[in-house]
Each structure stands twice: as C-alpha cells, then as structure tokens.
Amino acid sequence: MNESRRDFLKLLGLGTVGAGVALPLLDPARWTPAASAATRPGPVAAAGRQWGMVVDVEKCMREDVRRACVEACDREHNVPRIPDPEEEVKWMWTDDYEHVFPDEVHAHTPESGRTAPVLVLCNHCTQPPCVKVCPTAATWKREEDGIVMMDMHRCIGCRYCMAACPFGARSFNWRDPRAWVERDADGKPVSDYPTRTAGVVEKCTFCAERIRVGGRPACVEAIEQVPGAEGALTFGDVNDPDSDVSRILRERNTVVRREGLGTGPNVYYILPASFPATAADGRV
C-alpha cells in the first residue's frame, strides 16, 4: 500500500474515533442539569435525614411476624420467587442467628440460639462499600435521606456491589424474573412496581417509592396487621432525636451487624435477652 493511501486511512480511522467521542460530548443536553427549574420534590421533601430501622429480634422470632414482613415486601416490589436457591432474589429474609451475628456466638451458645431466626435486609450503611465500588453510580447513597438507592436503568450488571457487600444483601437477576413474579387473578403482577429484567442487581430500598409520598416501608406497615407484634420493627429518622428510632437507640442496648467493618449500618437489632428452650426442629 502506498504511503499516501495509508495516511488517508489513518486519518479516516482517527477522524471516525474522534467524531465518535466528540459528538456525544458536544450535545448540549448532556451539560444541562436534568432536574431543572421545572421539577420539584414531592410533599415529603427531606434534607439531612437518615432513615433507619430497629429490629426487635425476639419479637421477630415469631414465624407469623416474619412471614408478614417478607410477603409484604415481596408483593410490594414484585420480587420473584425463584425456586433454585442459587438464583434466588431476596430483599428481606430470615437467616440463622449464628450467620447474622457471627461475633455474638461462641462454643457454648445453645443450638436454639445458633438457629434462632433473624430478619435481614439491606442495612443502608452510612459508608456503604457497594456505593464505593459501583463504576456507574447505579447505586448511590441519597443525600436527602440516606437511602442507598438503586437505578435499574443504569446498572450494567457487573456485580461488583455484590462482591463488596459484607451482608450479602444484594441479588442479581440471572434470568428474566417475570415468570416467577406473583400474579393476581387477571394474570397481572400483583404490584405496579417495575419487575426488573435479566442482568441487573436489586435490593431493599427502604420502600423509597412509598416514602416519597409520605408512607412507610411495606414491612413496617405489615407488622401492624399482626396482632401482638407492635414494636417488632420500628422505622424512623436516626438523625431526628425525637423519632421513635432514636428513642429506642438511646434507651435500649442495640447492636448492628459486623460493626467492626466500619460501614455504619442503619439497621439496628435489639438482641433477645434469652433464647427459646429448643430450636425450631426440637434440638436444644
């Protein structure tokens, strides 16, 4: 190939690459802020809040309490019920005490204690490692209320956040979840909440869509329907000294999961004063 033809091809190649990079950058829409003067927040405009939750482990040992919470969450968000445990998607679920609080059990913890059921969910940490590692800010910590939020439109499915979360709170859609979403009598998903698609990560968002209109998380509201379950879950602003949550944090002895990692979880647990006499399967 003669030199001038090669130079022409090089110029063509570089020009194409240059245009490909420059043209999107020259689009004025890219540089104007999206939330312009035309938008405003809803009625529950928040600033400086940090939503938090207190879980009373003893009250939540009741199976009906936990079932109400988890089912409310699953229905509210069209969480798919995938039978294969390797591909399951769970936002809020139950795990054994020794797995949730590995630093609180020892060689003489009774079996009933080791296997005591505890509700777990995303802790909406103050220093969330998942947010730190996300390459696209598809997950981020909201400044106004401290919720660690998910943007399903931006997530590229790299699953780095899943590697970074010390609590195993995140689930990935290994396949299209639609087939496993609970349907109502007409075959529609039980909720209007978007079902997500294959290839994105999801987790509890403290029901941001409910909080936006002044509501509370579905699990907290579901507790009210269970007789005798008051106080199993308490939700509120930990930055507000007058909130129920702050009062409990002052008056009771609460712990968080894996405090030593310094992520600053905002889900607090009141540990039981004692364990049941036998485990669920009858073992002592």
């Binding site: 999206a34 035309a38 938008t39 927040p41 809803g42 299209d176 529609k188 936006r212």
Partner: protein, 129 residues
C-alpha cells in the same frame, strides 16, 4: 469490458441496492398504512402539546426518569404552568390506558422497540417483553 466498465457496473449495482429503502415503496403494491391512534378519553390535554410530544416524548420520559429515580424529584411543571406527577404508569397511562391501540401502533409503524416494558409492568394490551 475493461476495468472502468466493471467499476461502473459494480458502482451502479451498489447504488441500486443501497437505495432500496427509497424505491421499494414505489414498486411494491402493499403500503404500510399510517397508524390510527385511539386517543385518550380525557381531552383536558396531555402534559405538552401534540407537536412537542410527537418529537420529544422520548427525551421527556428520559428526563422524568432521571429526575424521579436519581434526583428524588416528583412534580413537574409543564410549559403551560400546569403541574403533573412525573410517572409513566401514574400520569401518561392514566389517560392513554390502552397502550396497544396508542403506543404500540406508532412504535410498530416506525419499527421502534422501547425496552421499557421489559421491567415496567405491562399495561393493558401491550405485548410482553
């Protein structure tokens, strides 16, 4: 034929093939009909006027998505000063209830496949993802 002739012939064939989208419509008897849209029953007006929506509803939805999901915004003021909640299901589809007879008809005509419905709950009539 000689090189020049072959090149001219090749160029000619290429140009004819490349122009297929232009002349195929003239040649074939079957024409795609312009879609007829079932308009919303509520005629008090859309968030913006028809011309704007025809050209820019995609950008508008993208802006709403960013404002709601990422910036925590909820209400939006249109160019007429009217306030709307930024929600596809809660605002747009409240009036354009049957998306199959509205959204899908234009999308099919233009061979556009928006990926919204792979996540957002399918409204009545729209084919599943």
């Amino acid at each position: 034929m000689g090189d020049r002739g072959r090149i001219a012939l090749g160029l000619g064939v290429f140009l004819v093939l490349a122009a297929y989208p232009i002349w195929s419509g003239w040649v074939s008897p079957a024409q795609a009909e312009r879609p007829e849209l079932e308009l919303a029953a509520d005629t008090s007006g859309c968030v913006e006027d028809t011309t704007f929506m025809k050209a820019s509803h995609q950008q508008l939805l993208n802006e709403w998505r960013t404002a709601v999901v990422r910036d925590g915004q909820r209400m939006w003021t249109s160019s007429t000063g009217r306030e709307w909640e930024m929600s596809l299901t809660g605002t747009c589809l409240k009036c354009h209830e049957n998306s199959a007879n509205f959204c899908t008809r234009c999308h099919d005509y233009a061979d556009v496949r928006p990926t919204c419905w792979s996540c957002h709950v399918v409204p009545e009539g729209e084919a599943g993802s």
